[in-house]
């Protein structure tokens, strides 16, 4: 990579708690302001000013209720609950920014592609081309239960339906309206030329959409497509659809084959190797010096909520971890999920005995991803090493405390990365530019507002 730019997204959610557990209790934390416009407009302004590429909004549609057989610990520890709809906050952030992108997580399992496509087109209109979509198929039984889907589809079937969902949205976004369909010709009395608007005639297994799209094309048409699946079915899905791949791992060496696999699969489908931008989740704790950063980290550790970490961990592990002593080694728990997770954490440090307490200690600040602690230079070194080893294009930076984590990154890490030529020039710097930019241009360069010509979706037709 050597001189490749690094792209930075804030990894946020519309909730008082995301992947770190219990840190809302830190004296400096202001996560309870999550439901105010001021929190989001101020964050968006600051991140854009610093040169971030986007805000990545996670979402879930049910409570995490595998721990102690119910949602009580999730509620008490604010583990991704309460949670609001990320769609609702985008236009306010767009109103105070010009270049920042907004990737929002929406499941293909509970919305109809026709309505969803219109919502995204609307946001892309209002933001002048700055919307992205993190495609998820949903894994929570609690969501399926309350959304009337009864039993969930099995994993691979969810992906099959998602494939068709993406087929429908592509037809709506890219194929239904020609570029010159909207004429707004007051003299001729033609707002839209009907000959340039085409019915979908889509008659699939999951969806029937006979007619044309009801919204006109937006600047990007298709939002920037992100995906995070790591199963082999998920990887195939990414190769078919994703422009951004969101990965998590304890070390860059673990991510390297995953990223290489995604790029190989994309190339096998005729796409350029760099047509997928790879983002790793990371949490940064930084300050003026390594010592100050280390002290901040030690202070944060005091606020980790063990139960909160277990709430987040219990879902993937698939057993109720409240019935185990915190000092039991993960490897001693007999479930496929526990064994899988034991291998996951062994990759971080094979010599450590990964008890549940140690897992909570690790996950409490930064979840399953790395927590990078140090001065701006130390963190920049580490980000560059991760990018080099794993062939990454950027990072989804989670917060430990709000908004302090982002303030620290902007103060200490961003200037260092910019000095090293790893970030785009600041919007208001000499040589920088105040020009508007679409989200896809942020990631793929000026002019790259539309879906790339080698994207597999272009094989579709009406």
């Amino acid at each position: 990579m050597t001189d490749r730019l690094l792209h930075l997204n804030a990894f946020e959610n519309f909730s008082p708690g995301n992947i770190s557990s219990g840190l809302w209790r830190h004296p400096s934390d202001r996560s309870s302001e999550y439901k105010t416009l001021r929190y989001w407009t101020s964050l968006a302004r600051d991140l854009e000013h610093a040169g971030f590429d986007g805000i990545f909004m996670a979402d879930i549609l049910g409570m995490l209720d595998s721990y102690r057989g119910g949602p009580d610990d999730a509620l008490r520890t604010a583990s991704q609950v309460p949670i609001d709809d990320p769609v609702a906050v985008v236009s306010a952030m767009a109103a105070v920014t010009e270049r920042l992108g907004f990737a929002i997580t929406v499941s293909t399992s509970y919305e109809h592609p026709f309505l969803f496509a219109r919502t995204m087109t609307s946001l892309d209109h209002l933001s002048e081309g700055r919307v992205g979509w993190n495609i998820v198929t949903s894994f929570l039984d609690s969501a399926a239960r309350n959304l009337g889907a009864g039993e969930q589809l099995v994993h691979d079937q969810r992906y099959d339906r998602a494939d068709e969902f993406l087929e429908v949205t592509h037809k709506l976004w890219e194929l239904s309206w020609d570029d010159d369909a909207v004429r707004v010709d007051k003299q001729a009395g033609v707002y839209v030329d009907p000959a340039k608007v085409h019915p979908l005639r889509h008659d699939g297994r999951w969806y029937q959409v006979p007619d044309a799209f009801i919204a006109e094309p937006s600047p990007q048409r298709t939002p920037v497509l992100f995906q995070a699946g790591s199963s082999s079915r998920g990887q195939r899905f990414a190769a078919e659809h994703a422009e951004g791949l969101f990965v998590h791992g304890t070390r860059p060496e673990v991510l390297a084959p995953i990223v290489a696999g995604a790029r190989d699969a994309a190339v096998a489908l005729g796409r350029a190797r760099d047509s997928i931008k790879a983002f790793a989740v990371a949490t940064i704790v930084t300050g003026e010096t390594d010592e100050i950063a280390e002290a901040k980290y030690r202070d944060l550790l005091d606020y980790i909520d063990y139960d909160g970490a277990m709430v987040q961990f219990a879902g993937p592990v698939g057993v109720d971890l409240s019935t185990y002593d915190p000092d039991v080694p993960l490897a001693d728990i007999e479930s496929n999920g526990a064994q899988f997770s034991a291998r996951f954490f062994a990759s971080a440090d094979p010599d450590r005995v990964w008890t549940l307490r140690e897992v909570a200690h690790y996950m409490g600040v930064g979840g399953m991803g790395p927590t990078i602690v140090g001065s701006g230079a130390t963190v920049a070194d580490e980000l560059e090493r991760w990018a080099e080893v794993a062939d990454l294009d950027g990072f989804n930076l989670a917060y430990a405390v709000r908004p302090g984590t982002y303030e620290d990154i902007v103060r200490h890490v961003v200037p260092e990365l910019r000095r090293r030529g790893r970030l785009r020039p600041a919007p208001d710097a000499a040589g920088g530019s105040r020009t508007r930019s679409t989200f896809r241009e942020n990631l793929f360069g000026a002019g790259a507002t539309r879906l790339a010509a080698d994207h597999p979706h272009w094989r579709l037709s009406l």
Copy 2:
């Protein structure tokens, strides 16, 4: 009514065309800016400054395609197409205002109440209590076709399902989380007290929602509930649910029994007679003098698009009006819809021969509602007369041209109504107040942020 305040909403939609037809072609019209943030933030600021209570956003989920057997004329004349999602634009408008309400139209037919309730709660959080919901059940076959619902439910069944939809949303908004459920107690480590969050255990005909809501209560909890149904089933629905009734008619004498019927039905359910605020649609063409206003109106008439008016009229009439000569009297067309519409227009003027051309002339500026033409004083007289005769609480004011219609109302009509004590004091006037206000307080008075105690929904329990 005598000294009752009048409430004003702008009747808008997220499209270049609403109920007037062809007027986007007027030289002053800027409807093609509908997809920009600037249009909406500027409109919201101006309306709030003038003392409007809200913006009422209409919506449809399919194209109007009864005329000439397809959507071509709707597209050409921008008859409610292209159309974006009103949910997307609310937070941006909320960010630049403090008191203006936002009523958005959402159908109960194509969304799940669990997800929809969260979206509204999110907007109510961000706007600090300024969201309303115009409840519709959808009537368009084109929407049902593309949203996978196949054949539509018959009319009364749609209302039955809507009743249950409202039951679920009430439980989510009002009953699932106690007022003191969210503690944010950093010392005790309790963000939410799980004992104060209650599962719905809703097991109905259309929806199963066993668990608790995932979002915390917003300032209003329930958005202000609007409804526009005029059938007897629709009227019963309004009495059960609505806080705002949206009616349209050619003369106030026609509306009087409809409004009285709604109030009677509400009283029969134990509600106060004024627990439903009645809004009539109206389009105002105004200027410094009656003569200037009349000249403006005559100028507007030149831009009416006959086909566009017929696109909008063809749906309710239920026959393809393109096969009829424009000079055929409506009463001569043999369909129930045509006969119903003939009576509707006869109520405006029984002596006029209501040919299709005359209908287009009437509907082209202001749709099925009245177009009130004159100086500020003349218009204020007429609005007062309508309110007096029909027992109205306010008006949903449609535009003829954008944003000129609203600019004219603000300049000529608002000061006159304010002089007469019909509007709340301007936010920045002496005696006025800059204090924030929720949407429900705008309509029902300071302190009335929550659903009234006599609302039938309070009979529901978990």
